[in-house]
Amino acid sequence: MISTFHGLETMRRALSTQQAALYTTGHNIANANTPGYSRQRVNFTQTEAFPNPAFNKPGIPGQLGTGVKAGEIQRVRDSFLDLQFRGQNAKVGYWSTKYGALERMEDVMNELDNGNAKVINQFWQALEDVSANPEDAGARAVLQQRGVALAEAFNHTYESIETIQRDYRDQIGVENSRVNSLLNQINELNKQIASVEVHGLLPNDLYDKRDLLVDELSHYMNIEVERVPSGGNTKEMAEGRYTIHLLDNNGQRLNDIVLLDGSTFEYNQVTVTDADGGQLDGPVTEIIIGGTAIAFENFTSTGSLKAMIEAYGYMEGGEVKGIYNDMMRNLDTMIAVFVEEFNNVHSSGWSLSEIHAGEKANGGAGYNFFEFSDGHGGGVQGSAKYLKVSAEVMSSTDNIAAAREVLDGNGNPIAYAGDGSNALNLAEVKDAQLNYGGQTASLDSFYQGIIGRMAVNVSEANSMTNNYQSLANSINERRLAVSSVSLDEELANMIQFQHAYNAAARNLTAVDEMLDTIINGMGRVGR
């Protein structure tokens, strides 16, 4: 027998289900602009029809529907797109960070109009002027000052690069703690999600939050997410806990390192360390994850953390490498080789003061034009940073050796004030083919090579960033196409649910009137 109140019950369910759908629509609209939010939808299912097919079922024609219920509230999301996005995001992180680092170096070494090449050219011009007017104090003063300008230009370039490098060191610290904070937050969310899921509920908003954090983590390093079911009374749709693996640049698991373990609710601290293991002040040697130390050269996980360390400096095979260190080493080599040759030529010549004295200064060794200030260890390293014009040349322009030694009538070495041939020899050092750290080149071409390689690197990093960015964008677009909230759609749904709600209420009224007829109108015949 069908219950008298069957119709009321059916409509009650309809009302509350349409209401739930309306609330979910409201939730979607409210979160239309929330980053990482996936739209949610209520899965409507019919309740079980009456009667159940059983032995003593009532004899009524067919099954009578009993209405609707909200099955579950599901977030609309495609996890395959998440996987793709994170892979690209790691590459975007790597290349954009690398591009940023190179671009800052390019800012310092923008050689188009007013770079170091111009200073070198001016220095060379001053040498030519001294060779044309070797006895002229004015030309010598210009040369002295251009020498100072040259030294200062390279000091400045070097120090600017060092400053950027220091910034990057701090940046690595910030990034490192951000990674740990992300792992910690994801871990906390894992715990919350697990505790909700076991009761058969779907914590959609927590899933969204967790996925957003994982997206961010994928910017720093290449990762893979593995799901661990929560157990208990979980729904089939429950996403479970996340276990996060570290991947190398080929997408293979790196040393089986688990950043975050969903089954044990534990995560491993990531620590970037240098040789002395304490505060980061030298080149990075290894990255410690939990108890496992990975030498940086084996840390192949693409991402902004790797790019940042590559910019800042690291140890590889006992050598210091890195974008900034390489540039500083190039500048050092260039200055060290140039200065050695320049000083050789300079000290072989005769200065005005030596001409007056009739003998070479410093017991025949002559004067150097350039020297290095205190702090320079004597090797190649730091040559560009500590370059300066020698104290002798700074104290008097007469100590600039523009003349070449000749023999007088008696065969004794002597030189003359009007002889600018040594200045010419000095000017020729610019074009001399010297051995710049294993590469035979002139000063100009070596420097052009440095700038050229840098420019090519910047431009490569730029186009790689753009490529991966547009890939990531298009994947993200597809993700948004699935998950993001369309206001038009929500409004249309809202109207749909509203009408269904109204209709259910109207139906309820109809049933009410029917009952009214039965209860209040029946049995009053003749009254």
Partner: protein
């Protein structure tokens, strides 16, 4: 594909940003007049730019050296011209004096003029140009000839200037070929002979050969100098050509084609305008606007 408001606003923003960066590029090109403002925009242009600029600076410097070379050579030429004149005058005087009809007082006068000419030659030997003694080899800060204490310079080192890459040209004349100790001694001897009443006309005539020798030396030296001036002038011509060439190559390499850039800028501006206009129309309406 499902399209939502957030997708439209993200992609609109991205496209507007791309469009703006294009606008910025053209704006940079217009305001600097250069194709690129950073080496990475076109490493090849940047590299060539550095090389061409160095080349141009070199050519300009060699032109500056050229001015110095002309300075030396023109001063030397005019001094040698005067020297020839003075030596010719000495020859005339010697011819006059060897006439044998001149009496003692007249020879005395001639001797006086010879003395004056000798001092004139000394001052010519000590010609200064640009504060340098040009007839003293590389020893340009000291007087080459001092008759008071009979010192004569022997510095014959060439003063060389670099006028082309690796081409060094001597710009001074070898003073020993003209203002030699021998010349001043010969003139002194001439003066002494004139002051000596026993000097015969034959003896004076014999001096003519000596003087001719010195005149020849001077003329030869001047001719050699002239030949070198010619060479320098050819270098001058070549440097001027090179400067034009270097400037043009540099300009071809890195200067922006203004007509092209302006056209592109206008096109881009239109695109940007259209993007802005369409964005404002797309983002604005939603279903909400049509529901009551």
């Amino acid at each position: 594909m499902r399209v939502t408001q957030s997708m439209i606003s993200t992609s609109t923003l991205r496209h507007l940003n791309t469009s703006m960066s294009q606008l910025k590029l053209y704006q940079d090109q217009l305001s600097t007049g250069k194709k690129i403002t950073r080496p990475s925009q076109d490493p090849v242009v940047a590299m060539n730019g550095m090389r061409y600029r160095t080349q141009l600076v070199e050519v300009q410097q060699f032109k500056r050296n050229l001015g110095e070379a002309y300075n030396w050579m023109d001063s030397a030429d005019s001094a040698l011209n005067d020297t020839t004149g003075a030596l010719q005058r000495l020859r005339e005087l010697t011819v006059q004096a060897s006439n044998d009809t001149y009496e003692e007082g007249q020879r005395e006068n001639i001797a006086e003029e010879v003395r004056q000419l000798k001092e004139h030659l000394e001052s010519l030997a000590n010609t200064r140009s640009n504060n340098k003694y040009i007839f003293n080899g590389t020893n340009t800060t000291n007087k080459p000839v001092n008759l008071e204490n009979d010192t004569f310079s022997t510095n014959s080192h060439p003063v060389e200037l670099e006028l082309l890459k690796g081409v060094k040209i001597p710009v001074n004349v070898n003073p020993q070929n003209v203002f030699s100790e021998q010349m001043f001694n010969d003139i002194q001897q001439l003066e002494n002979m004139l002051r000596d009443e026993n000097t015969t006309a034959e003896e004076l005539s014999a001096m003519l050969d000596t003087l001719d020798g010195h005149i020849n030396n001077t003329v030869n030296e001047r001719a050699a100098l002239g030949a070198r001036v010619n060479r320098v002038e050819m270098i001058d011509q070549r440097l001027q050509d090179q400067e034009v060439l270097a400037t043009r190559i540099m300009s071809d390499n890195e200067d922006a084609d203004l007509a092209e850039v302006i056209t592109q800028l206008l096109t881009q501006e239109n695109v940007h305008r259209a993007a802005l206009a369409s964005s404002s129309r797309i983002i604005q309406p939603s279903l909400l606007d049509f529901l009551r």
